[in-house]
Symmetry: none
Subunit: 278 residues, 4 copies
């Protein structure tokens, strides 16, 4: 298995502190032993519009030097410009599509071949059908740009935070309707737990279309610290021959988080399970 760690807990989203520069974060995750880093596209790490050509090169060189890959990139929805591709506000949808394209370009510059797609949510009064259409239309525009750049877009069900793409089936259907070969799916165990569903079932259901995965225990704790059993998840990933990054997205919901601690605990726990299953 290749392991990656999402940067939110080291960044200012959604908790402003503690935060660390992207350079510091890369060095720490490399030292802890991760193979990859999933980079959140928000200040202070990777808001695309603050990173000129030189800065992008610097970051890429640091990644290479530290022997850790940029595994994937994702936006930070929910504040400021919103970044809701299903918004009923036309200006927001247009900005969001352009932003995702800029994230795709940044991914290419940093050597990442995967960008996550958070399909958005509905305001009161907007129908499920309209929101779905808006999101699908946004996805197609983003996906076509990504296809030219050799980047895979992974649709993520985010039931805990939204009301549009909530399940494996929702994500697979949106993927299918996009009609694009580089649009695939992913999921986050945290959102599956929110729905009181079974995480390993999502792996078998998504099967060959599963190109990315977020692991989190209950309450965004590191795997092993919240009571969820990750054996069936690792077993299922082996069963389907998953070859993407196993990525932790944890700890970012609490100012009191100790990022290095969480990153190390998660990696240790999953490697122990992997060893036991071999």
């Amino acid at each position: 298995m290749k392991y990656a760690f999402n940067t939110w807990v080291y960044s200012s989203f959604p908790c402003w502190v503690p935060s660390y520069s992207i350079d510091e974060t890369i060095k720490r995750l490399s030292k802890i032993g991760y193979d990859g880093i999933e980079i959140g596209c928000a200040a202070p790490h990777a808001w695309p519009y603050y990173l000129d050509e030189n800065r992008r090169k610097e970051i890429k060189e640091l990644l290479d030097k530290e022997g850790i890959a940029a595994s994937s990139l994702l936006p930070a929805p929910g504040g400021g410009p919103g970044a809701n591709p299903a918004s009923s506000i036309k200006e927001e949808r247009e900005w969001t599509v352009q932003h995702y394209k800029d994230v795709v370009d940044l991914a290419v510059d940093l050597g990442a071949s995967t960008v996550l797609y958070v399909a958005g949510w509905r305001m009161f009064g907007v129908s499920q059908e309209d929101a779905w259409k808006y999101s699908l239309d946004s996805l197609i525009q983003i996906g076509e740009h990504a296809k030219e750049k050799g980047v895979t877009i992974c649709v993520e069900p985010t039931s805990s935070d939204s009301n549009l793409i909530e399940t494996a089936d929702d994500a697979l259907l949106l993927m299918e309707q996009s009609g694009l070969p580089n649009v695939k799916v992913m999921f986050d165990t945290f959102h599956v737990l929110y729905r009181n569903e079974v995480p390993s079932d999502y792996i078998y259901t998504m099967g060959e279309h599963l190109k990315h995965i977020h692991l989190s225990d209950y309450d965004r704790l590191a795997p092993g610290q919240g009571g969820m059993d990750f054996y069936p998840v690792i077993q299922a990933l082996k069963d389907i021959g998953y070859d993407g990054y196993v990525t932790m997205e944890v700890g970012f919901n609490a100012r009191s988080a100790h990022p290095d601690s969480i990153a190390k605990a998660a990696l240790d726990h999953l490697k122990a399970i992997e060893n036991e299953l071999e």
Copy 2:
């Protein structure tokens, strides 16, 4: 007392749902009985760059029709562009200053004369002195623009979320150093409770410089639902002759919030206290 209600719990920041359009939110808060509405400058309510001249007029007309005033505006820090005026990233500081100026202009268009200033936070490795200098420099640029437009900037200590301006004294010092007559101070009871300090003490300390206030019970509950005693706060506001809006900033930390319920409960509770004190 004039009562206002902050829009976050009706918006997509920081919880994406439930959310309501700015028009729906104005109508609901007016119906519940608020005098003012504090508008968060994030999608889907009031991201300045999605609101053209016509849309601003529409919103202003709706406010007038519903008999509720735009009491104040504020940005949504922490995601995407960051909006941290104390950032060590030059591009972020520049964007943030410009963004605050745009928020000031939007305030003017909507009839509000107050904009809140969240002074920012420090990443690991940035000194308190440097961050303070960055924030002060940003504040002066923003304040000068606001002065021309007749808008007051209120510095808010945000101890619960940040590590720069944490106390009444910090806010007063930054205000003083700005040297601008339209830079004043405010505070939020929630942040005072986070520091285990006494909210009414902040009122006497800030005195004539106190131009805005956020009320919240413990855990961002509506006043009256979390156990804090708001009598001393209302008494202190009367004592100093406070004539600004008493603004609720509550409920936005939980997806499970019922916005109308919270807005009504908060207003009922404070009016009851006010009546009792008369």
Copy 3:
């Protein structure tokens, strides 16, 4: 407002005890002051196949004598025959359709003009699309039979227990696709709370199509005993001119429930709110 009470907590579903005969239950709810009784179609109350013509007449006469109306009927899904209209097992779907028709006939015999439709759920491996098709097909067969009998079928989103029709939008879409004028929608505040959504929003969204409603506080407690604020719900029902029964479906999840206590507390709480709003 007309108030009704669902019989589960007086029956053997899902907790076997305490249980009371249907006759005893009718007398108790009438005495407490309810206008209507929602009858669950399971033993020992109203399993249609245990109630011959005479027994149905007896129950109807008792209802008349006690001055309480049979407001609605519903099946008891989840055990024995399943009663899942979205089942991938053909035998189960066929039985379920026939069962709903028999429930409709029983409703007519007892003087009720509303039957609730629980749209079912998906097993692992069954796609959302297939399950939706199965449920829609079942609904059309049931709805056509009900139309002949003058009975309204109300589609209920049951997010807390299932994975098919979870939201107001899901229910409205299924209703629309049925193409039948006597197929309408309803919702249960308990399921809305499970989704961390806002109950009163469901009322405005469903509007004229809302023909039934279940009230329950958090954890299936009686309204007023669990912390939810029912003011906005009663206000919204008034706003849309709702003229159906306001039905409590509470307490049935715990053997320790005291049915009369719960029934009285719920009625008292809602009447108090109604009086206050007048």
Copy 4:
């Protein structure tokens, strides 16, 4: 020891989801390492009336292929037809007796030689004597049919859910009064814990008549996850020379259950105890 696992947590009783087909459930339990599977006779697994001759053969062949035995069958009381053999409703008792006979026949078809008998419960107003008589009469009819088919009926005290057969002594007395050699007893540690009694005491008390056992930790958790000590239970089973299946009946009370996880954890825990005692 031979270990078996009850299918409720994989089925739609009492929680509708998650659920898995009987085929999927057989494969999973076999892979986890169980010797036997206890099959609940409810949709979607084994409602007898949905399983024709062919389907029964298919299931039997799958069991053989997967190397796992149908250890026992049981009905799902409490909804729809009730299945309460002590009901004061004659139609319900008659249906229940017939249903048990059909379950016995299904057991034979699937190769199981044990059927569990849940002796029922009393509605308000029905005396203990009458209910006992009803249940005994039902049991005799069922037991005689089972005797012809070579099936053992095990009477289970179910104190947590009912009010008729609550203790080891109740079960032994009903057994004795049946006068049938193929009527025996069993118990479930969960129900014993509900009465604050000592599970291993039930083993010594039931002794040679103990032909089946359900293990569950507190709160229907897997043995090892709820705090009960299972050493004395395993020791007592060895002491009396128990040669039936040690069957887990766990996890089915919560939608949030992860069935494979629970099944594996229970088996691991008990095998570890067994190894230690050898």
